[in-house]
Symmetry: C2
Amino acid sequence: MASSVRSESAAPPLLDAFRRYLREHNLPVTSQRELVADVIFASTGHLSADDIERVLRARGAHVGKATVYRTLDLLAESGMITPRDFGEGFRRFERAPGRRHHEHLICMRCGKVVEFVNERLERMKALIAEEYGFRHHHHRLEIFGTCPECQQRDGVAPPPSGSR
Amino acid sequence: MASSVRSESAAPPLLDAFRRYLREHNLPVTSQRELVADVIFASTGHLSADDIERVLRARGAHVGKATVYRTLDLLAESGMITPRDFGEGFRRFERAPGRRHHEHLICMRCGKVVEFVNERLERMKALIAEEYGFRHHHHRLEIFGTCPECQQRDGVAPPPSGSR
DNA sequence: TTTCCTGCAAATCGTTTGCATTAAA
DNA sequence: TTTAATGCAAACGATTTGCAGGAAA
């Protein structure tokens, strides 16, 4: 009833890659794992474990929270998703492959998250690590502020060069 | 027995500022609040609530964990300390006043935290927020990697321009 | 079959809260 | 006195774990 993730037509490439990963590591390919992976691969956003459980329930599938977490661990270990911590007290997860490394702009009013890439910033961070003798592994940058919409809603004129 | 934080000689300026803050807000100046504030003001590091409780116990003072947390809230509201989230699953707190805004380099091996300031980075972040129409409030940058000492310990040659 | 999962509930861990007691103003 | 803080323990919310029953290989 609540199973078989798209058996017809070609399976989505990400899901296929996950299946391959599981097989290569001698881990069973279960319907729950496919369901969880499918939800996060189909989204471009930043989902919490709760979000994922909610989506699955809405689809009529029932996957226990423990299994959701266990599958997210697997997906993170495989490098196919990236955990994010926006300081909310819980983690969010986003699809990783095919996406460049990026940073986040977070609206403190409405919670909207905008992703951005800045080459100069990337280079600068590598240089800073080097300056202190550190071998750079990864980094995390989050800018918190108020998005244009919320500024307008609050009756505050948006900053001048608002290009978007 | 376990009380009175330096009644002799001039009280440390930060502690005095905290007392002033409390009075201005009609909040009682209690010995527990002074004890907790004293610990974090005396440290230049990044302390967890647990660290603080441990230091106090070592000093023979007994302050309940709830009170530690409540006092940390007050100190953060007053702007005298800054909460930090290094993705460890709990918060750390550091002394804020008299210190410029800075970022963190974190060693993934030994946990050492090195602080740094970079003007160009600061300006760039303001510009990026502006570019997306965001009103910049604050940001957070952490670079994770391996510190020079741990690189040597692991028998890996440190990067070329290792100035320190 | 053997092995590894899944689901559930109980356990953890950092943090918060309710409430009777106690201290500051 | 009046008001607010403290300490303890219970409550919380996200995440993890133990274990009996149930699918993958």
